[in-house]
């Protein structure tokens, strides 16, 4: 279960960052960079690119920490959303640059559904919501799970998913529907 102290510390840190305390940014980085790096990897799939994205994300956090409102969202979610935004910006810029230069879309960005490792979740720091989601996602078939998580991390529509995975639209829609149906049944049991 998520420790309330950890959340409160992050919130206090963000408050100090909003006051331009750069030591506080360092503290936030030390506490969160490995988690946010993992999020960046889910968005851009490439180590080097993920590091660029991570850097952009922390510079964004430095600028907008004052916008964070604790009652509206847990800090890790707010931070994760910033990472995803910078990741998506990165992907769009890259696609645009390559198109301008007449190059085909990156291999790095075109995905295949890989076999995933089932990494156990560190439950000490996870929120109850995250634990429930993790448990329910685990029960879904791999292909179906991956279209659901890809859609979220990369903000993709059905047709964009189909394009990136080189799959028929119908197949992606079917997997998404089945994955979400199973997810809904499972999550609704947890209420």
């Amino acid at each position: 279960m998520k420790s309330a102290i950890t959340d409160a510390q992050l919130i206090a840190c963000l408050d100090r960052i909003a006051q331009q305390d750069s030591a506080a940014l360092r503290e936030l980085y030390d506490a969160t960079s490995s988690k946010l790096y993992a999020v960046a990897m889910r968005v851009v799939s490439n180590t080097e690119h993920a590091e660029d994205v991570l850097q952009e994300a922390y510079l964004t956090i430095w600028r907008v920490a004052g916008d964070y409102k604790a009652p509206l969202s847990p800090p890790m979610v707010w931070l994760g959303v910033i990472v995803r935004s910078r990741g998506l910006d990165f992907l769009r810029r890259r696609t645009a640059e390559r198109a301008l230069q007449g190059q085909p879309m990156d291999d790095a960005l075109a995905d295949t559904l890989a076999a995933e490792q089932d990494t156990p979740m560190d439950t000490h720091e996870a929120s109850e919501q995250a634990w429930a989601l993790h448990e329910c996602l685990r029960k879904i078939e791999s292909k179906q799970r991956q279209v659901v998580t890809m859609a979220y991390f990369r903000d993709l529509s059905h047709s964009e998913l189909a394009h990136q995975l080189s799959l028929p639209l119908g197949t992606v829609k079917t997997w998404m529907r089945r994955g979400l149906d199973q997810l809904r049944t499972c999550m609704n049991r947890f209420a």
Partner: protein, 265 residues
């Protein structure tokens, strides 16, 4: 078709919307329903909160030490922001944030996730061991509360609970009598120099105070129907004694939160 009355369809659409694949005309139709129905909004917000937990799932990985070095270098070359402390400026900034939230309210992406995360899952009695057991107990508690409420002609109820899903405050609202009744059911008691303050969280707007709670077990507050009607979520924050003005918004941590339900009348 009234999707507010078709829970399975609503659940399916809300989950799709939250994951980001309900777009175009279908997305706009759902948004239109959401503007008219607190039930629809509550379901969407619930799924958005669930999906946002995906941010916590990827297993941590160490980035190279160069990343911090590059951040540090960039900080030094950034123009120094003047720390703005004037109250006028603070108010303007708050309005800007609220405006931004309104504009982004129904679009997928960053702003939605940040607003959605606070939906209250109606939660369990303290001793339930498994999440599944808690889920069942939630449903029972909800049903009991709704039945009691409809017998007393109360139209709205909420169970406010903490992060561990322990129910702490039960809320009922009778719009005809303009009366909010709060009942403390958990063991929480605030310190002598603090007060609990109740907030309505209307979508796309800043939180609005519904009043400061006294230390009694049963507390009655006055509220206009408009303050409650289209609000999907209520929250209680810990404030200095006497509370804070509504325009400031919660200054302390949110201790309890829950979805506002309409009773069947």
């Amino acid at each position: 078709m009234n999707i507010a009355q078709n829970p399975e369809l609503l659940d399916r659409l809300a989950a799709r919307y939250a994951v980001g694949v309900l777009r175009g005309g279908a997305g706009r139709r759902l948004e239109a329903y959401a503007r008219q129905s607190a039930t629809v909004r509550a379901r969407i917000l619930l799924w958005q909160e669930r999906m946002s937990a995906m941010m916590e799932l990827p297993s941590p990985e160490q980035p190279s030490p160069n990343v911090w070095k590059r951040i540090e270098n960039s900080l030094q070359t950034m123009p120094h922001r003047t720390v703005q402390s004037s109250p006028v400026l603070t108010q303007l900034q708050a309005r800007l944030v609220a405006l931004r939230q309104q504009l982004n309210w129904w679009r997928t992406g960053a702003a939605l996730a940040s607003i959605a995360a606070i939906i209250g899952t109606l939660v369990a009695v303290q001793n339930a061991q498994s999440l599944e057991g808690r889920g069942q107990q939630i449903a029972v508690l909800e049903k009991q509360l709704q039945q009691q409420a409809s017998q007393q002609q109360v139209q709205y109820v909420a169970v406010l609970a903490d992060e561990k899903s322990d129910a702490s405050v039960l809320v009922t609202f009778d719009p005809d009598k303009r009366r909010l009744v709060l009942q403390r059911v958990g063991g929480y008691q605030e310190a002598a120099d603090k007060s609990l303050q109740l907030w309505a969280l209307p979508p796309g707007q800043a939180p609005k105070s519904l009043g400061v709670m006294g230390s009694d077990k049963v507390i009655k507050l006055t509220a206009a129907p408009d303050q409650i009607k289209n609000v999907p979520i209520l929250a209680i924050s810990l404030e200095p004694k006497g509370g804070v003005p509504s325009s400031r918004g919660p200054t302390g941590p949110v201790l309890f939160k829950g979805a506002l339900l309409q009773t069947v009348l």
